[in-house]
């Protein structure tokens, strides 16, 4: 006993190898390959190179960059929501239907006025009322999940059907049986708020390209004028989510909730509140997705957002998020969204292959990603 306590007083000396010494082996390289986003980053690099070879100019010319980034940004917005929720250990399959629902809600208000005949809607009021609705639905889904302890897979699957049905019924009721609204006024030209969602952003980038002689049409004028506003929304949402997740207290709570919920609760983490808030966050992301679409195209369609929930989850998985929760990063999801969005969009520019190969390709990527995530998880948890 005496020797035990004596050794305890000293730091582990040379020659006395303890378990802790084994932790020191981790160098910068091991640290790098342990990062959750490394797989997605490698995948993204490969794809960027392959596309340069296979499609070349069509992908990387000014218009190609604009179009590709628009698709990537759309997916990235909802993938960020899906990622945060998955890290906390839950799923939301209602994202796609929520997009359709939010688009319908905004379009109906913009065309037929605010509820109860209050008066005509402005883009801002239509957006805010819709956001209140979708946040309330997100709150409801989350509350059902945490109260009943039912699997979020089932609860959100029910809302996938409920919301899609509600969207179609509402459209038909207002629009003589049609499930679309088109020909809304071009609000982004006249309304500042609408231009924030559906207009253009980072025009300086294309101005710069023009000035450098890389961005002109046949007439010699400037060709592309700016990125879609959704690119800015994607960046803002991603940066905010990254900051919250990696730098704040609630970020630690999100990881703890997904990693070991009982433990988190025992240590005072309000796990139910964390989960409900994240269901509301996915609803928020779906609403932004819908708003950028509605104010960009001035149309809405009950079928909008179909299957998007699965693409969002897939992009999160490709980005290194583990299905059982507790692990993942926003940076990885950014890469995942780039992979998914780019492939989805660019394959159509490659004339010598059937565009639908992209689904087969994405399915394979997803499988490989899920498999490598599992390997990483095992490595981190010591193979248990």
């Amino acid at each position: 006993m005496n020797s035990t306590t004596e050794r305890g007083g000293q730091p582990a000396g040379a020659g006395h190898l303890s378990e802790t010494d084994r932790l020191r082996e981790a160098g910068w390289f091991s640290r790098l390959v342990h990062r959750p986003e490394i797989g997605a980053f490698s995948g993204m690099s490969v794809i960027l190179i392959l596309l340069a070879i296979a499609a070349g100019d069509v992908v990387y010319n000014p218009l190609g960059i604009k179009n590709n980034l628009a698709i990537v940004a759309q997916l990235g917005i909802i993938a960020t929501g899906a990622c945060m929720l998955m890290i906390a250990g839950e799923f939301d399959l209602s994202i796609g239907s929520m997009i359709g629902f939010a688009g319908m809600s905004m379009a109906i208000m913009l065309k037929w006025g605010l509820p109860f005949g209050i008066g005509p809607a402005t883009p801002l009021s239509a957006f805010l009322i819709t956001l209140c609705l979708t946040l309330a639905i997100g709150w409801l889904i989350g509350t059902i999940v945490v109260r009943t302890r039912l699997s979020s897979f089932i609860v959100s699957l029910s809302f996938l059907f409920i919301l899609r049905g509600a969207t179609e019924v509402s459209f038909r009721t207002f629009n003589q049986g049609s499930t679309q609204v088109s020909g809304l006024p071009d609000f982004k030209e006249t309304d500042f708020f609408a231009s924030l969602l559906g207009g253009e952003t980072f025009q300086w980038f294309y101005d710069l390209l023009f000035w450098l002689g890389l961005n002109f049409n046949r007439a010699g004028d400037q060709w592309v004028t700016g990125f879609d506003a959704k690119v800015a929304w994607w960046l803002v949402i991603s940066i905010a989510a990254w900051f919250v997740l990696s730098r704040t207290q609630v970020g630690n709570w999100i990881y703890a909730t997904g990693g070991n919920e009982e433990a988190a609760r025992a240590n005072g983490v309000p796990t139910d509140k964390v989960k409900v808030s994240l269901f509301m966050f996915t609803a928020f992301c779906a609403t932004i997705f819908a708003a950028t679409q509605v104010f960009d195209t001035n149309t809405a369609d009950a079928a909008k957002g179909n299957l998007k929930e699965l693409e969002a989850i897939a992009a999160a998985v490709v980005g290194g998020v583990i299905l059982s929760g507790g692990f993942g990063s926003i940076v990885g999801v950014v890469f995942g969204a780039v992979i998914f969005g780019l492939v989805q969009n660019s394959v159509f520019y490659i004339s010598w292959i059937d565009g639908s190969y992209y689904r087969m390709f994405l399915g394979t990527v997803l499988l490989v990603a899920a498999f490598s995530n599992e390997t990483i998880r095992k490595r981190i948890t010591g193979g248990i």
């Binding site: 006993m1 305890g8 303890s18 802790t20 981790a26 990881y255 009982e262 010591g382």
Partner: protein, 260 residues
């Protein structure tokens, strides 16, 4: 001998018509390891859950520093300085040592819950607190999954102590560990004992481990205390016999030979 840090007096716990504990009393002193021994079903788990505030006693009183206290829920117990380290340790193996150490009680700057984590400060506190109980962590941002079972136990213990545990309840800390890891945990317990200000309640099935670190024993069987004493007055044979609930080892041997 100074007054006990925590004293249980005639604790009775009934679940419906089942009596889990039938008048259990024990004293636990600061700076001592008090081994709580007993066979499965003896009432050890019920007793620690009462101390941790998970259950409330049907009868009897808990005194902390000589004052009667009642732990309505686990939060009250933990605020009063009862730290429980359960068998599953309440850790998330995918996140870092620091994040696990501070989970729910992060050091932040700014409004809750969006306050910014003071990572550097949390890392250094984690490192220090782990070193105090003899584990040198080279990188507190390493995932808990990379630590050995003994180190994880130490992490859970260091966390409980750092956040104010004066009574540390260890629920079978050496079970589910390899031999070498078990010794690591016993060393950790010894270091906590050496601090002198913490009362440790050690629940274990292993009488050798109890003998190695315990100052005082309480034996439970079928919800009652069937023996207690200080380490010096108990022989190994007594301990083994009391742990088995008072059954004579000799009787057991006879029964076993009868089968052959």
């Amino acid at each position: 001998m100074a007054d006990p840090l925590i004293r249980l007096e005639n604790i009775v716990k009934r679940f419906g018509n089942f009596t889990a504990l039938n008048g259990v009393s024990m004293d636990v002193h600061a700076g001592e390891v008090h081994a709580l021994l007993g066979d499965n079903g003896a009432g050890k788990s019920t007793l620690i859950k009462i101390l941790a505030g998970v259950h409330q006693p049907t009868e009897g009183t808990i005194y902390l520093d000589g004052q009667p206290v009642s732990f309505r829920n686990p939060l009250v117990a933990s605020d009063a300085g009862i730290g429980t380290v359960y068998q599953d340790l309440a850790l998330n193996s995918l996140t870092s040592v620091t994040r696990n150490f501070f989970v729910g009680r992060e050091i932040t700057r700014g409004p809750r819950p969006f306050g910014i984590l003071q990572t550097a400060k949390m890392n250094s506190v984690t490192k220090q607190e782990m070193a105090k109980i003899g584990i040198n962590i080279a990188d507190p941002e390493q995932a808990v999954g990379t630590m050995s079972g003994g180190q994880r136990q130490a992490l859970a213990i260091a966390r409980a102590i750092h956040f104010g545990a004066r009574v540390l309840i260890l629920d079978e800390p050496t079970s589910a560990l390899g031999q070498k890891q078990q010794l690591e945990v016993l060393k950790t317990i010894k270091r906590v004992q050496k601090r002198g200000d913490i009362a440790v309640i050690l629940i274990t099935h292993n009488e050798i481990h109890a003998q190695l670190v315990a100052d005082r024993y309480t034996f439970l069987s079928l919800g009652q205390v069937i023996g207690e004493g200080v380490a010096d007055n108990l022989a190994g044979g007594d301990i083994r016999q009391l742990m088995a609930g008072g059954a004579q080892m000799a009787d057991l041997e006879e029964e076993l030979t009868a089968i052959n």
